[in-house]
Structures are given as C-alpha cells and as structure tokens.
Amino acid sequence: MTKPIDHASTVTRDEVEDFLYHEADLLDRWKLDDWLGLLTDDASYYVPPNDKPEGDHRFTLFTVADDIVRLRERIIRLKDPNCHAEFPPSRTRRMISNVRITGTEGDLILVSANFAIYRYRRNETVPRLFVGCYRHKFKLTDAGLKIHERRAILDAEELGAMGAVSFLL
C-alpha cells in the first residue's frame, strides 16, 4: 500500500490544507463514515488531558485515546440516536489555520495546524468553544493522503465549560 519514497517532498502544503478543510467539512456535516475513509486501517485518535498536553496515553489518562477499533465503535455510537450527548447532534463549525508540514518520521508526514471549533447545542444560545492545535501524522498511500495519527491538543487549562468531548475534535 505505502510507497517507500520521500513523500514529504512530494506533498505540498496546499494539498495538506485542502485535505484538512475537506476533513473539517465532513466532520461539520456529520459525514462520519466518509470521514473514516480518510484514515489508514491502523489509525489512532488522541485528545490529551488539559494538564498534560504532551503526555503519552500509555502512562497518562487522556480525554480520548482511540485505536482504530475503538474509533470505529465511536463512529457507530455517534450515529446512534441513543448517543444522548450528541442528539440532536451538535452543530459545529471548524476554523483551521496555520497549517504547516513540520517534518517526517519514517514514511509519515508530520503536520500541524490550529483549530477553533464552535459547538452549538440544542437549548444553548452561547457556543462552546474548543481551541487548540492538531498534530497529525499523514501517510501517502495509493489512494492519496490518509491520516495515520490524529492528535487534537486543547489550549485551555481545563475542559471546564467545554463540558464533555462527545463529538470529534
């Protein structure tokens, strides 16, 4: 599947930006199965705890630390009307900026970006705001760019008024 080439040089920031905007659009429109299609078969998704943003999920209690198996289950849950925390689904709007290719790690391309996600819920007029940065690892496959590791690091000192992180950051 993977091309053993020097991909960082073959992928441009434009392509990465397009990818991230497309991803954000899918998530905002709750096209979650399509979103899963952007991931590799061994992808993982992390939200570190606010007090240990640089922590390792094997020794540190994270907010989210999904391997692909649990991530697929999370999508099943999010699409279920019995996912009460997200029913009716939150309306979200994601702003992605400061996109950079920061390096490589083996055949992985390291990408960082900033995000601000406005989350509106039924019965709440004031949005809950999630601000932070992404640290992603991309893989260039025959089917194009895929996310191998997805890490959303929140800036706030605590989750506080953000409450539960029941949707995908």
């Binding site: 994270f62 849950r77 996912c83 506080g160 992180v165």
Partner: protein, 438 residues
C-alpha cells in the same frame, strides 16, 4: 435495612415545607426539586454540609517527594496540598497572611518555598513564614513567627486518601468513613503492596447540573440500560455478554448498600471486565495470560474468597458528600463541587496499583476510556441526562417532586437498580440540612 424513618418522619405526601418526604405506610420517597435550584439551599449546604464534612483533598501518591505540591480547592477554598521538606503531608490555605493574595499559582510542582508575588512574603513548605521584605517597618510586638500559612483545621487520611475538615470539632476521619472503609480496602487490595497511585492526567469538566444529581447518578444502576445504550452496544459488538440476567435489568444481580453516615455503594458481580482481574474480549487475546497472573497473585495473597471479592465485583462507592470512587471498568476517583445551584465542577483521576507493568497500566487506561470521562463512551451521556434533569427543574414549582421509591418495602435487600442506596444519601442530606444529628 436501608429504609428507616428520617428525622422528618412520616408524611401523607402533602408539602409542609419538608424537602425530603418519606412515607413508610404508602412506601413513597420524594425529594422536593427546590433543592436543585434555590441559591438559599446551596448556601445552606455550604455551611451545614461542606463546612462540616470530611472533604477529599488528594492522594499521597500525588506528592511523593519532599517539596511536592498540588493546588486544590477544598469546599471552595484555595488549598496547597503538599509534602514539606521534612516529609509531612500538609494542607494549607493558599492565602497570603499579609493581604490575602493566593500565594501558589501553579497547578503542581516541587519547591523549596511558596512565594507571594504581591509584596514578596515567602513561606516554607510546612507553611511557616520564611521572609517578609522590609520587616523592620513593623511595630515591635508584630508576631512574625505567627504569620505562617494557615493549615486546614483538620487533615487526616485513610490508606493514602487525604481528607480535610473545616470543622475543628468533627469526629475523626476513620469514624466518619464508617463502612466505606471496607470498600476502600477492596480497592487498595488490588495492589500487592497495598499502594495505589493516582495516574498522571486529570479530567476537569463542568456539568450544568446540581451537584447532588451526580451523587445519585454515580450509584444509580437503574439508568444504565437507557442512558448507556450505546456503551452496551459497544460491549456487545466487542463480544462481551451484556444480556440481562433472568428477571433483572442488568447482566448480573447487584445490590445497593448503606455504609453508614450517608456513605453508600453499589456491589455488583462483574460482567464488564476488570483490569484486576477479569478478562473481557476488549482487552485482546494476548492479555489473557497476564490477567490470569494478576488473579493468581491475588489468590495467593488474599485467599480464594477475598480474591474473588476484589476481582469479581464492581463497586461504585460514594463517600458523603462529594467523593465517588468507581471500581468498575477501571478505577476512577472523582469529586465534584457546586459553584451554583445549576453548575458543578468535576475533577476525575484514574487510580492504579503502583506495581503495574507498562502493559497493565496501558490496559487500565484503555479500559477507563471505554466508559468513564468526558471523552468516554458513557460519561458524556450521564452529563446529558443530568443537564436535562436540571433543565426540567425550571418547572419545579409546578412539577415539584422527584420520586425515589424504587425498591421500597423490600427490607431484606436493595438491588443496585433500586433506589434504596440513593435514599441513604438523601436522609443524611436532610438530617444535616435540618441540623439534626445524623
């Protein structure tokens, strides 16, 4: 027997100002929803409950070395929880003796002193005063030595769980904990050396709901099937048998228990897996041998019966008023503090045996996140349920009564899906709020 009359005694259900109404003839137990919305009630709770009870501060493992500190809030007061340079555990009000600024501003760290940035007063880690800039300006009788950080009136621990009490005359912690001690023991017995530790990484989040709703929710197994339908589905998809036992709502028949002094617990035969030590398919085939080894160590150390008690039961323990230790899919220590009638701050940690290998620790944390926490598969739906309840209380004047009568009249045993253990909390709450002895 869980159901004994409250101080308020019997009632025919008509509202005569009582907030908790128990009718033992008609077997009803009702709580007036005013208790979830009225600022006066919260004020009274702060004085009659939070200022009188043992409130959780932290765990000894969080301040292992001399000079280690954590800043916390205890019953709303800023507190430094630290180990002084001599190795003694302290809880000091994090308030400068000069003009009252919060002294230590970091979340955690290791230090030789606490330094107030306002005018530069400094304190040793045992709280004693270290330095006062320009102290020659003070009158001759100024008692510099007496200007140390003020310790909380009482600080005691049970098996490394430290609690503070703002009431100097409170009974000692061990007496206060009553039957809850046995259930803390069951948690601590998971460690071969009896030493558990708080794992790095804290979950701090708000719920737009009254704090008492989280007491109820933490031990309420009645809500599991409806609130946590997607979690049950996830377990089912993963090959875990979650079919209800015959005649029961849940896969196993569990109980709700009164532990005295307002403390309560569920006590359920496990079906959902336990890092110590019950394998489920979610852990993966390669974890089987390791879980067996953990279990064998338990049997060797504790004997077959006690090992089964530790390894094969899940217990959600509530220590009155606001500490919950859930020993289920993993172990979580969680406390919560009201900031308004309709808002609480929740702080939750993971707890594990200090001896755990890397693989065991990773498994424990993975198991934690399948259920617990703001990103888990269950807790967010609890938050949703509690916030919906709080929204419903906007009509408290018109729809005033909450019903908690499940299982009333069963004097022998209360199921975890009954509400007998919830009534234990409410009776204690009621007696403290009306100033009656517990």
């Amino acid at each position: 027997m869980l159901d004994k009359p409250t101080q308020n005694g019997r009632s025919n259900g008509s509202y005569d100002g009582k907030l908790v109404v128990e009718d033992l003839e008609n077997l009803t137990f009702q709580v007036h929803r005013k208790v979830f919305v009225e600022p006066d009630i919260l004020e009274q709770e702060n004085r009659a409950i939070f200022d009188k009870c043992w409130i959780y501060v932290g765990h000894a493992s969080e301040i292992r070395n001399p000079g280690d500190f954590r800043t916390r809030h205890v019953a709303g007061r800023p507190v430094i929880f630290c180990r002084d340079r001599q190795g003694n555990v302290r809880a000091l009000f994090n308030v400068c003796r000069h003009r009252g600024a919060v002294v230590c501003r970091e979340r955690e760290g290791n230090t030789r002193q606490f330094y107030c940035i306002y005018h530069g007063w400094s304190y040793n880690t045992d709280g004693s005063i270290k330095g006062i800039p320009g102290d020659d300006a003070y009158p001759p009788n100024f008692n510099k030595k007496g200007m140390g950080l003020v310790p909380v009136p009482r600080l005691e621990h049970y098996k490394d769980f430290y609690f503070a009490n703002l009431d100097p005359d409170a009974p000692d912690l061990h007496t206060y904990l009553a039957g809850a001690k046995d259930y803390i023991d069951l948690v601590v017995d998971q460690s071969p050396s009896g030493r558990m530790e708080i794992i790095s990484g804290v979950q701090e989040y708000d719920m737009k709901a009254n704090w008492k709703l989280l007491v109820e929710n933490s031990v309420d197994d009645y809500h599991l099937v409806s609130t946590h339908a997607t979690w049950l589905n996830y377990m089912r998809n993963s090959g875990v048998n979650v079919t209800p036992a015959k005649g029961h709502m849940l896969p196993t028949k569990g109980f709700g228990k009164d532990l005295g002094n307002g403390h309560l617990t569920t006590d359920n035969p496990n079906y959902r897996g336990r890092p110590v030590a019950r394998w489920i398919s979610v852990y993966g085939e390669d974890a089987k041998a390791d879980i067996d080894a953990i279990r064998n160590e338990l049997v060797e150390r504790l004997g077959e019966a006690r090992a089964a008690r530790v390894a094969d039961t899940n217990r959600n323990l509530c220590i009155f008023p606001n500490l919950v230790i859930n020993d289920g899919s993993s172990v979580t220590v969680r406390n919560f503090t009201p900031v308004a009638p309709n808002l609480m701050k929740v702080t939750a940690w993971a707890l594990g045996p200090v001896e755990e290998t890397e693989a065991q620790r990773a498994r424990r944390l993975h198991a934690f996140l399948t259920f617990y926490g703001p990103g888990g598969f269950a807790t967010p739906d609890d938050v949703a349920a509690l916030e919906l309840a709080q929204q419903g209380y906007a009509a408290w004047r018109e729809v005033p009564w909450t019903d908690l009568s499940r299982g009333m009249g069963n004097s022998q045993e209360q199921l975890a899906t009954d509400e007998g253990h919830l009534r234990v909390f409410w009776r204690k709450w009621d007696s403290m709020m009306s100033g009656a002895p517990a």
